[in-house]
């Protein structure tokens, strides 16, 4: 009986998440095409490579659920990553520098959010400006050169966040799942999460239902900024230095993951699980094409085609409204 219901809910899962189905197909095809794909080492590698995009994309999911968009996350990643690197280089322990970095990312998000909510400027425009300005700050702050996290005990501890292992599994994978559980809990089990959906579903209804719409809007950009900063920490730690050009076009991969995951750009509809799957679809695709030795030029074309296909399948299976 139990097996039966779990079987039924698995079917349900497939129906609700076309992206999940796409992921399974993609994994199966990749495994068939290449012997080296379905090895534990490679799978961990895929998950680790996916983690940065997944962490960013989960933050962006909140923004997109309110019918907004955040183009600045890649730039935020670069600037906050640089903060993290210089804090670490100056000997600040990770338990101080990481929360500090995340807070700075959240603050950058709040600034964008304030312009979107109270300035009533379209999110696309606000975050496009933020993308440019924050990238500029990253170049100014780093003087256009990489900032090394330095050496010593503190730098080693910090490096663990990107390059370390625990129980044979890379730390970034734990971070990705931690963010997933946190986002899932917030979206589906708190008042705030429900308000996010309501604001995206119909702002007017949300306001008349007593929701402080502006506060919700500012909050989602703060969350996206915080997630981008955490991704900045992971990337900086892994590379051992912060690059001023880090995170270029990451915002597009994040948006692609969200969209493949079935979240509507019109707001009000979508799931964090979908985003995680969406990020994995992109990750598996990149990895499989690499293993098969497809040129990176063709990879871009293939990636675009898969995104289009995933979204097409998803939109076909939705009730029209």
């Amino acid at each position: 009986m139990n097996a039966l219901t779990s079987n039924a809910s698995f079917t349900r899962l497939l129906i609700d998440n076309k992206a999940f189905l796409a992921l399974i197909v993609l994994v199966a095809v990749s495994a068939a095409m290449s012997d080296s794909f379905l090895t534990p080492d490679n799978l961990l590698n895929v998950l680790r490579q996916t983690s940065i995009n997944a962490i960013i994309a989960m933050g962006v999911t909140f923004v997109i659920l309110t019918a907004g968009i955040d183009l600045s996350v890649g730039a935020v990643l670069a600037l906050t990553g640089a903060f993290a690197a210089s804090m670490t280089a100056s000997g600040l322990a990770p338990w101080l520098s990481v929360p500090g970095t995340i807070a700075s990312g959240a603050l950058l998000g709040v600034i964008s959010g304030l312009f979107v909510a109270y300035g009533r400027i379209q999110a696309f425009v606000v975050t496009l400006v933020a993308m440019t300005v924050v990238r500029g700050f990253a170049l100014v702050y780093t003087d256009g050169r990489p900032i090394s996290i330095g050496g010593g005990e503190v730098a080693d501890a910090f490096w663990q966040l990107g390059g370390g292992y625990w129980l044979g599994i890379p730390i970034p994978i734990y971070l990705m799942f931690f963010v997933f559980v946190l986002c899932w809990g917030v979206l589906h089990h708190t008042r705030f999460g429900r308000h996010v959906y309501a604001v995206g579903g119909n702002e007017q209804v949300a306001r008349l239902s007593g929701i402080d719409v502006n506060r919700i809007k500012v909050s989602v950009y703060a969350i996206a900024g915080a997630c981008a900063a955490l991704a900045g920490v992971v990337l900086t730690a892994r590379l051992g230095s912060a690059q001023p050009n880090a995170g270029m076009t990451y915002e597009l991969d994040a948006i692609a993951a969200v969209v493949i995951g079935g979240t509507s750009l019109m707001g009000g509809r979508g799931r964090i699980f979908g985003t995680l799957v969406g990020a994995l679809v992109i990750g598996v695709l990149n990895n499989a094409l690499n293993i098969m030795g497809v040129s990176s030029y063709f990879q871009m074309i293939a990636k675009g085609a898969v995104i289009l296909l995933a979204v097409l399948i998803d939109s076909r299976s939705r009730p029209s409204s």
């Binding site: 089990h189 708190t190 008042r191 705030f192 429900r194 308000h195 959906y197 309501a198 579903g201 119909n202 007017q204 209804v205 949300a206 306001r207 008349l208 239902s209 007593g210 929701i211 402080d212 009000g268 509809r269 009730p319 409204s321």
Partner: protein, 511 residues
């Protein structure tokens, strides 16, 4: 064995312009129309009545090519026709004005009227002709709307008139109007009535879908009643009484239309002193616990604007609001709710519910803080219990509280909207046109809910453009005109004439 009571005696029996025979239509295995026979005659107005979900709109969509019938035939001027698209029906002279307005809000009234058929000159749009003809059409509808201003800036009633003007511009022979008067004021309805007479005089065949039976008797030559997808009656209007029609629509006898209960008045709950806001120019009144205070007036008189200012949605410029003897100064609907004022908006689809979200999520949205523990974590069991309670108490018909609000009928959506407001346990409940677009059976249930609120000692402010409803439910009626109070009547003194006189006292000057 036929349920239908056909009355074939037709004084000026002419050849039918269009005949539908044995029409059947189902969606996903659910039969919506079954074996419907139906004829339209030139120069006659047919009223199509039936509860929500009876199949009225579907039948009209079959007629106008939006849907294709699964069974049956359509005959137009003696020849069999099939419409694959609405465009084909349009070309054959059938125009339909849908319940949901189909206008592009950012385009002007004139552009909307001629959308896709813009008059051209030298390959460019002839704006002079376009706006000239649009103005003429609007004038024929007694509207002084400037055809150059964007539709978004017009009232819903005016938008409806633009929609009607578009149908007229097609020069159609068959014009179907789905709930055209729903958004119209009494004055605009009177205009529409004259337009309908003119069109009938010109030999057009009209179909009018309406929930307002008065209109069927006033405007229609024939009446057809659909119930559960079957045609149960078609015949001259004059041979039926209002009660008979209702009986045919619901399949049972309805007791009194407005189940009024005398109030048990408590203390004064709400006091509004000289409130000024956009569209409101100084309104004062007070209301007591257990009282239904009705608000009458023409459209544009400031009733909805007053509600929006009162609930905090629109800022008040001056004036005071007191609740239970304490002055409140909320500036957002959220603060208003915490002060005990809940507003159920008139426009259910745009302001009342997130149609794409589940019934349960919608219902608990306003009261969510009450179901949350520390860190704002939702206690799902508590929330679920409250949702189930209201579904049962309000007799909301659904399969699963997780189904999308969009899938419910208008009446049930309205009940969800009401439940959503009441879950926050307000002291003052503002109901803005609570029965708009709701069928006869569900209307009565909403009336009973209003009585329930009364018994619970809530202070109910009721806005209704349906005069009998306003008079049938209110303990006291305040009439607004031009943003000010122009009359106040106790239930026993109120007559339709007095209210109309007060409403027209200082008719709004805009437009």
């Amino acid at each position: 064995m036929s349920l239908a009571t056909h009355d074939t005696a037709r004084p000026d029996a002419a050849e039918p312009l269009m005949t539908l025979q044995g029409i059947g239509k189902s969606f996903g295995g659910v039969s919506v129309l079954e074996n419907v026979d139906f004829s339209l005659f030139p120069g006659r107005v047919l009223g199509l009545a039936g509860e929500n979900g009876a199949g009225k709109s579907t039948l009209m969509k079959v007629l106008s090519g939006v849907h294709q019938a699964d069974a049956g035939t359509l005959t137009l001027r003696g020849r069999g026709v099939r419409f694959a698209t609405p465009r084909q029906a349009m070309d054959a002279g059938i125009a339909i004005i849908h319940q949901e307005l189909n206008l592009v809000p950012t385009l002007s009234a004139g552009e909307n009227i001629f959308l896709g058929r813009e008059p051209q000159r030298w390959g460019r749009i002839d704006w002079k002709r376009l706006f000239g003809q649009a103005a003429e059409l609007l004038e024929s509808l007694e509207q002084s709307i400037d055809p150059r201003i964007p539709v978004a800036r017009l009232s819903i009633g005016q938008q409806q008139m633009v929609e009607i003007a578009r149908a007229l511009s097609l020069d159609a022979e068959i014009i179907v109007m789905d709930e055209p008067t729903d958004a119209l004021t009494d004055v605009e309805t009177a205009v529409l009535e004259r337009v309908v007479r003119t069109l009938r005089g010109a030999g057009k065949s009209l179909v009018l879908i309406t929930h307002r039976l008065v209109e069927i008797f006033r405007m229609c030559d024939d009446v057809a009643v659909l119930r559960d997808g079957r045609l149960v009656h078609q015949g001259p209007t004059a041979s039926s009484s209002e009660d008979q029609l209702i009986q045919r629509m619901v399949g049972r006898e309805l007791a009194d239309r407005y189940p009024y209960e005398p109030p048990r008045l408590g203390e004064t709950v709400l006091e509004v002193k000289d409130m000024v806001a956009p569209g409101v120019r100084g309104v004062s009144f007070s209301a007591r616990a257990g009282e239904v205070l009705g608000f009458g007036g023409l459209m544009g008189a400031g009733r909805t604007e007053m509600c929006r200012a009162l609930c905090g949605d629109v800022p008040r410029k001056s004036g005071e609001v007191w609740i239970h003897g304490r002055r409140v100064r909320f500036v957002s609907p959220g603060q208003g709710l915490r002060a005990g004022v809940a507003y159920v908006p008139e426009d259910r689809k745009q302001s009342g519910l997130v149609l794409d979200h589940s019934v349960a999520d919608n219902m608990s949205l306003t009261a969510l803080p009450a179901f949350c523990g520390p860190l704002g974590i939702v206690r799902h069991a508590r929330e679920r219990a409250a949702v189930d309670h209201y579904i049962e108490a309000f007799r909301i018909k659904l399969n699963d509280p997780r189904q999308r609000a969009q899938t419910l009928s208008g009446g049930n959506q309205q009940k969800v909207s009401l439940a959503k407001a009441l879950m926050s346990e307000p002291e003052v409940v503002i109901l803005d046109e609570p029965t708009r677009g709701v069928d006869v059976g569900a209307k009565r249930e909403i009336y009973l809910l209003i009585n329930r609120l009364k018994r619970q000692g809530k202070c109910v402010l009721l806005i209704s453009s349906e005069m009998p409803e306003l008079m049938g439910l209110s303990d006291r009626i305040i009439v607004l005109a031009n943003g000010r109070v122009s009359g106040e009547f106790l239930r026993d003194d109120a007559t339709q004439e007095k209210i109309m006189t007060a409403a027209a006292a200082a008719a709004p000057m805009e437009n």
